[in-house]
Subunit: 336 residues, 2 copies
């Protein structure tokens, strides 16, 4: 049984934990500072498939497969899978989960799908509607560029604050187990629109959504930034993270000491073409479900917040002059 | 607390019901056989907006607004809203829910989003994670044609089995109330792919998914077709419905006497251009949340199954030669 507290936060009352997980990335991500922590790498951006989209499905499928294999789980052991990606009609997830033949909940929440899926899986298990659920998300640099910007063959230049879509996927297996990192609370976010229209500056569009969800969680639960070892945002990158710290500071919350961002962590800060950092549904997912889980298992982390952030940008809405709405979903993760 | 039975079915144990709802449609839907049952109609396909996509958002927003107004609910009374549509990046839902400022779960499950959202809302309320939730979905003929086929200005001809995307939206408000139609069970579907590649014959692609979910529900619960007053599929249309009856008959389930399909009901069977019937996320939603709810309230229905069906077709996957995977989610609805 879950329980609501405050305005938006859900307390997970059973010991719903991440019993297994995997993060799978591409070559550039593997060569980044977190490379050694990922569970698999495809050095070829096609991953042996005939299109970038099919490759992205393979990343997602592979992350699910490794997460299941780690615990010797079979398809019939999994009750529900949630999936999400950046592609139109969730193409990567649909084709990525199809062969598993597990009941499927398709999500679209842009890059915030990682914590949305994890939060939903936790609520569903807490409710008794499933014993075991998988949450998986993916993104791919080449498929995202083609869909949201220009095909790579055009050789377009990046803008100063551009974020590079991460080629990768992450998957977590959720079930009741007190001994693993547990999801203690979930705060589903609202759509927040601060009127940002620069499609090359997603971090700026998403930071207000992250600030909204994080401050709401603090108000709902009465907890403070220093109750946590880490407050990890999804993919605000370098620009968005700075804005987030300022916005939260104005609300009276100083998270600067414990904050980090998957978009800043993935490639380090030396990429001349992508000074904004990383982004994408696969950014937070591949880091959370491998690097962060390893830190929990090594007792380097005890209690953290994960807030994946999504820019609900549609090329169509951008062409029509609309601003970029954003959303951020939060999960509190603790290992006893 | 929810409970799992059989392989895929979730029993909702609290009295989670649809306490209010609304269906909003366009002119052609209003002029169809169910016209008088809808809660609102926009005779202008732009609904006073500057694009078809913005119009679709307005339909969704209007359906949510009417459903809330019917029960004098305010924004602060609603804990969660789930939304979904056919547009890339769920543009209609994002912009449709944004002004309400309610925590938002974005879904992509094509036309099956209607019962996916209803099922999720029911599980979430049953879990205690929310007291009140709204599930809303929309589609729009003009925005769907532009995105999936050709802009209307091209004047493309339809194929013999074409289904016309419904211009409309539906929204239901879910909360604990024994006196209204209650969601008794939910069966989330698996992605089913029978290798259909004809993007103009969605009914054929979706029928196997509907058959899979319906037969699984029967197996899980031990119920039979004649336990129900109505088994309502989402938008298989005339061709897909025929295939569904055959597939289920082969599995030993004859639902022919109690079956109907929202795609067959919306426009009647006299449309020379769309002999396949209607389709779209707004098809099942507008009919279920208005016409069907009215029948419950008039005691013309007591126990039904609703199975919205979705073709997880992406123009990109179609261009790349992939077949059309499909999915169907089921809810059992009963009024005591």
């Amino acid at each position: 049984m879950a329980k609501r507290i405050g305005k938006q936060t859900i307390i997970i009352e059973k010991n719903v934990g991440i019993i297994s997980s995997a993060g799978v990335v591409g070559k550039k991500e593997y060569e980044g500072p977190l490379g050694k922590d990922f569970d698999n790498v495809f050095l070829d951006e096609y991953a042996g498939e005939e299109s970038f989209e099919a490759a992205e499905s393979k990343f997602l499928k592979n992350a699910i497969g490794i997460a299941m294999l780690n615990k010797e789980l079979k398809v019939e052991d999994i009750d529900i899978v949630t999936g999400g990606d950046l592609l139109n009609q969730d193409m990567a997830s649909t084709f990525g989960v199809k062969d598993f033949q597990i009941p499927y909940i398709g999500l679209f929440s842009a890059c915030s799908s990682c914590s949305l899926g994890a939060g939903l899986a936790s609520v569903i298990i807490d409710s008794g509607a499933a014993n075991t659920a998988i949450a998986a998300t993916s993104s791919h640099f080449c498929s995202a560029e083609r869909q949201f910007r220009f095909p790579l063959e055009y050789g377009s230049k990046t803008t100063p604050n551009s974020q590079r879509t991460v080629t990768g996927a992450g998957a977590g297996v959720f079930a009741i187990d007190k001994s693993v990192p547990n999801i203690k609370a979930v705060t589903f976010g609202k759509v927040v629109d601060f009127g940002v229209t620069d499609a090359n500056n997603m971090g700026a569009a998403m930071a207000p959504a992250a600030a909204d969800t994080i401050s709401q969680y603090f108000e709902d639960t009465g907890s403070k930034p220093d109750d946590f070892d880490l407050i990890l945002t999804g993919d605000l990158g370098f620009v968005g993270s700075k804005i987030l710290l300022e916005l939260l500071s104005k609300k009276g919350f100083d998270i600067s000491v414990v904050h980090n961002d998957c978009g800043m962590m993935m490639f380090g800060d030396n990429d001349p073409d992508y000074k904004g950092g990383g982004s994408g549904c696969g950014c937070c997912a591949s880091i959370f479900y491998s690097h962060i889980m390893k830190k929990f298992h090594n007792n380097e982390l005890r209690r953290i917040l994960v807030i994946a952030t999504g820019a609900l940008l549609s090329p169509t809405s951008a062409f029509q002059g609309f601003s970029i709405p954003a959303i951020a979903h939060l999960i509190e993760v603790e290992k006893c």
